[in-house]
């Protein structure tokens, strides 16, 4: 397939990304004698409905990284996360898991991936416990190791285990989906706005969970509108999708 490596695309909407600023300095400096990145992307270009969201984006995410994707509404944060998770295909470029293109090792990649999108994936016709149990089982947890009651207690849903999800609130739906984080063996967590509809206490608990996860050699990629409070500035790597740079046709 013919592909011009030069920048040959014009960003379409001026209110949108004119460039992508990848805060890549810490990542690159670490790379010298580090093992290959856990998850990486090369030359990602994303076009949605004839709008260029980002272009020639290259990312490397190592074990122990927490990466925050920033940018205004409509700048392509969700699109980037979906591409990284393998839900969407980029217009150009590819995503690599352990240096293998994810298209060639879908099942292995998904064994090590936990993606939570805007939608909680909770069925109203099933109870909180059933929802959690199904999702855990589908993602490869063995039946014996699942203690759904204890996990639901972690996200403050004690007492709601057997109520149908359709009787629960949006925040509680989100908690059901977040409960999977406590049982997850996946190394790569990709979380799209995990803090929406979660109270302050919950946010704090989640941040502690992220800390434990990266300490164990996992990585977290997330979007959020609020800052991560318990992490220091240096700890959080940032990918900024915004329009602070001029477009390249000038």
């Amino acid at each position: 397939m013919y592909r011009n490596k030069k920048r040959e695309l014009i960003p379409l909407s001026a209110t949108n990304t004119d460039n992508v600023n990848v805060d890549s300095t810490p990542i690159e400096s670490e790379q010298v004698n580090m093992p290959p990145p856990l998850l990486s992307a090369t030359n990602l270009t994303c076009i949605r409905e004839e709008r260029l969201l980002f272009d020639q984006l290259t990312i490397a995410i190592n074990a122990g990284d927490i990466v925050q994707v920033e940018g205004p509404n409509g700048s392509g944060k969700t699109s980037l996360l979906r591409i990284l998770a393998g839900l969407s295909q980029p217009y150009e470029g590819e995503v690599l898991f352990n240096e293998h293109a994810i298209a060639t090792c879908r099942e292995e990649f998904h064994q090590h991936l936990l993606y939570l999108g805007h939608l909680p994936g909770v069925k109203g016709e099933m109870s909180a416990q059933e929802n959690l149990a199904f999702n855990l089982a589908l993602h490869g947890a063995s039946d014996k190791s699942i203690n759904t009651e204890a996990t639901l207690a972690e996200v403050n849903l004690t007492g709601f285990e057997d109520s149908l999800a359709s009787h629960l609130s949006a925040g509680q739906h989100r908690r059901i989906s977040l409960a999977r984080l406590y049982q997850s063996n996946a190394r790569i967590w990709i979380l799209d706005e995990p803090f929406t509809a979660i109270d302050k206490q919950g946010v704090h608990a989640l941040e502690q969970l992220f800390k434990a996860h990266i300490a164990k050699g996992g990585c977290v990629v997330l979007t959020t509108h609020q800052d991560l409070l318990t992490f220091s500035e240096q700890q959080v790597k940032k990918i900024t999708l915004d329009y602070t740079f001029d477009s390249y046709d000038e």
Partner: protein
């Protein structure tokens, strides 16, 4: 062959290539079609059984075989795009669908107008007619799917899946209707393949057929160019092209 094809896989090159073809195609199509149609209407002999209604043949048969040929082309394009992620194939499949639909409609209509005097009815639920009608439905489905998606890339992929499912289904449909309604009673009377015709009947047919093929290629080229432009609207070459063309028309 891949080496030779390589530059044409670039949208800009293929856009201009299709553009250079346009005048040749239109001149040749006009030439062949005008010769073929005049010959068919006024000079070709009438059939011994069907009389002058036989002249519909010169319209009906090319349209019918093109309607299937275009679908085949569309299916090949869909397959290429699916296997090799070849984006231009989607554009050409999108360009083919409406052309195929029009020619299917022509085949159906002329078939009906021919059937009325010959069979005694505009429409019978005969194998060929029914499978051609289903072909029209498949074309319409593909077109509808193309326009239902906002994102042209996704539209191309979705329509490609439907095209391929349809191509598996076409022989089944054809066979099922043949079985279901056995007016075409076996090969004892129907002639398989090669129409045995005298030369003075065959020549105008060949002219018409080639003329229609050229015409179809012409229209597909025009539509292909539009598809390439709208799919690549954020590329600099499209922008410069559009502004120069607009400046030319304003003068």
């Amino acid at each position: 062959m891949w080496k030779w094809l390589h530059p044409y896989a670039n949208p800009e090159v293929s856009y201009h290539f299709a553009g250079r073809m346009l005048p040749w195609l239109s001149a040749l199509a006009a030439l062949f079609l005008s010769i073929g149609i005049v010959w068919a209407l006024a000079f070709a002999p009438a059939d011994y059984q069907q009389g002058d209604s036989f002249r519909i043949f010169y319209l009906h048969v090319p349209a019918a075989s093109l309607s299937m040929g275009i679908y085949l082309g569309m299916a090949i394009a869909a397959f290429t795009s699916m296997v090799w992620q070849f984006k231009l194939a989607d554009a050409s499949a999108a360009a083919m669908a409406p052309v195929g639909a029009v020619f299917t409609a022509i085949a159906l209509f002329t078939g009906a107008a021919w059937g009325k005097p010959m069979w005694g009815t505009w429409w019978i639920w005969d194998a060929r007619l029914t499978s051609e009608l289903i072909l029209l439905f498949l074309y319409l489905g593909v077109i509808a799917l193309h326009s239902a998606f906002e994102d042209k890339n996704l539209a191309g992929k979705a329509a490609g899946i439907l095209t391929l499912v349809g191509v598996i289904n076409l022989p089944i449909i054809k066979y099922s209707v043949e079985w279901w309604n056995t007016l075409h009673q076996g090969s004892t009377i129907s002639k398989l393949g090669k129409p045995s015709m005298t030369a003075d009947m065959l020549w105008p047919f060949l002219f018409c057929f080639i003329g229609f093929i050229l015409l179809v290629t012409l229209v597909i080229c025009i539509r292909f160019r539009s598809e390439v432009l709208s799919r690549n609207s954020i590329r600099p070459w499209v922008r410069t092209l559009v502004s120069t063309q607009l400046a030319a028309t304003e003068k």
